[in-house]
């Protein structure tokens, strides 16, 4: 069985079928992209994977365990973390604090530890701060760690979202349009960064409209249209798939 196995999941909003019996498999260490026209149901798919929405139908199995009936917190614990298409940072918190919140689930000390500032508390805190700074450095935000998230320009906010997701120590990262709002130069940097993540052992599921990024980085691609999976395959196959070109890519550049 695959690392992450999505079996025929469906989401209804009233009369609208936003996601329609979609199945996917993701293997460990892969970068899998999900593309499709606007309103195809990609973000909704992420929302189901991360427990924001309950499924209308189907099941999600991660590392052999059913996770679709778990709370969002349990799903993060299990190892799926995400970024948001509409940036949702902790606006009035500092950049580094955003990352530290991301580390919340693996910051282990008890209430008494924190109340009495025990040795354990101090060592865990300084270790987490060190890791946080490392993560920020790796994504190029170390200089801005004292800033408040809300004051960052759009592109940096996107980066910070990724940093925050990484910091949960997740096994799978679900990135929803991380390159949106970046210029080609910047998205290229991002691309390198994401590759680096994979090399470190992360599995990545990516939603992206920037074909430069998608085609260059993905191991495999799924295409969704109107809630249904219409194609899957290697980047080269997808790029030449008639259906995909018609529904999504438009005339090639």
């Amino acid at each position: 069985m695959a690392f992450l196995e999505v079996k025929g999941i469906t989401k209804l909003f009233g009369g609208l079928t936003a996601v329609d019996k979609v199945s996917l498999q993701v293997e460990k260490g892969e970068i899998v992209s999900i593309i499709g026209p606007n309103g195809a149901g990609k973000t909704t798919l992420f929302n189901m994977l991360t427990g924001v929405y309950t499924l209308s139908e189907g099941e999600i199995i991660f590392e052999g365990k059913i996770i679709h009936n778990r709370t969002p917190q349990e799903i993060v614990q299990a190892g799926l973390a995400r970024t948001f298409q509409n940036i949702r940072l902790f606006a009035e918190m500092r950049v580094i604090e955003n990352v530290l919140v991301g580390m919340h689930i693996n910051t282990h000390y008890t209430f008494l530890d924190l109340l009495f500032r025990t040795k354990k508390f101090r060592s865990v805190e300084s270790e987490k701060h060190r890791t946080a700074v490392e993560i920020l450095e790796s994504i190029g935000l170390k200089d801005k760690m004292h800033n408040y998230a809300t004051n960052l320009p759009y592109g940096d906010q996107r980066r910070l979202e990724i940093a925050r997701a990484i910091s949960t120590n997740a096994k799978i990262l679900l990135l929803d349009e991380p390159a949106a709002g970046m210029n080609p130069q910047e998205s290229e940097e991002l691309l390198r960064f994401i590759r680096g993540l994979r090399d470190k052992g992360y599995t990545i599921i990516l939603i992206e409209h920037d074909m430069n990024v998608v085609m260059n980085i993905s191991d495999r691609i799924y295409v969704i249209d109107h809630g249904k999976k219409i194609a899957e395959g290697l980047p080269a196959e997808i790029a030449n798939n008639k259906k995909v070109i018609e529904a999504y890519l438009g005339r090639s550049e």
Partner: protein, 291 residues
């Protein structure tokens, strides 16, 4: 007796509803709980009393008080709240500002009029009507009538006019409303005028009903009306009327069957229970935030 208590409760409920509409209106547009509303209501009542005592006649006094209180509403916004909006500060700062304003209004009323309870002439009295042994005071009926009419007019304004559309837009997203060419400040001013005017209407009618006015009259009534507005789903106008009725009737029955000292507790208990079952009030809609 049960019927009589029901009728008592209905009137009381209409009283709350009348005040609650003002809360809902301002909240509906600005997402701001206007804590000065209770004292604005007291201000309206005092103005009406003042003009009546100056021999203006009841109707002109009523109208003058509505206009003046509406202007007070505008002044509150222009002087205290608009600067906060310009700074894009959090709603909670505005909450404290309105608390400060209510201190000012209430104490100024006290200094000018004294803290004692004063007489207010009866507005319209055509005696009581008896239906099946239950007494309906005509004043009660008038209060209900006016509340319903006010609500109807306000609902129509918000639903069907351009100003109404602008009001809803400002509620949703002020920045975008600006970009649409909506004069946000005007819309807010207009809202505060309506809020003030409705408070004056409520203040005058209710004072006429109980025939008394006093500077602190807005405090308890304001709290109850606020909870009525929340109970009905704050921001939803017809919800306010309904919430007002629920609070009024439950209070009336609690006072009769549990004792008068329980009435306030029961009103709040019902509020809490309703909110626990339906966290956005009876008619409130959940905020839409797509992830």
């Amino acid at each position: 007796m049960v019927l009589q208590q029901l009728s008592n409760g209905l009137t009381l409920g209409m009283v709350y509803a009348l005040i609650a509409v003002g809360y809902s209106l301002v909240f509906g547009i600005l997402r701001l709980v206007n804590f000065s509303h209770g004292s604005v209501y007291a201000f309206g009542a005092h103005m009406a009393m003042l003009f009546v005592s100056m021999q203006f006649g009841i109707i002109p006094a009523f109208i003058l008080s509505i206009v003046l209180t509406g202007i007070l509403g505008i002044a509150i916004d222009k002087m205290a709240l608009a600067p906060l909006r310009a700074k894009k500060s959090k709603g909670i700062a505005a909450l404290i500002t309105t608390i400060g304003i209510s201190y000012i209004i209430q104490n100024v009323l006290m200094i000018t009029f004294g803290s004692q309870t004063k007489f207010f002439p009866k507005l319209f009295d055509f005696g009581s009507i008896y239906i099946g042994g239950v007494a309906f005071n005509t004043t009660q009926i008038c209060i209900s009538g006016v509340s319903l009419m006010l609500l109807l007019i306000l609902s129509c304004v918000i639903r069907y006019t351009k100003v109404g559309l602008a009001m809803r837009a400002v509620e949703q997203n002020q920045k975008a409303a600006n970009l649409m060419g909506i004069d946000v400040n005007f819309v807010v001013t207009f809202t505060f005028f309506l809020g003030g005017a409705s408070a004056a209407i409520a203040g005058t009618l209710i004072s006429g009903y109980y025939q008394i006015v006093y500077p602190n009259m807005g405090f308890v009534a304001g709290l109850k009306a606020f909870s009525a507005a929340v109970l009905g789903g704050i921001g939803v106008l017809y919800g306010s009327i309904f919430g007002g009725l629920v609070v009024g009737i439950s209070e009336s029955f609690a006072a009769a069957y549990l004792g008068g000292s329980y009435r306030d507790a029961v009103a709040f208990l019902i509020l809490i229970i309703v909110l626990l079952i339906k966290p956005t009030g009876l008619f409130g809609k959940k905020g839409i935030t797509k992830v």
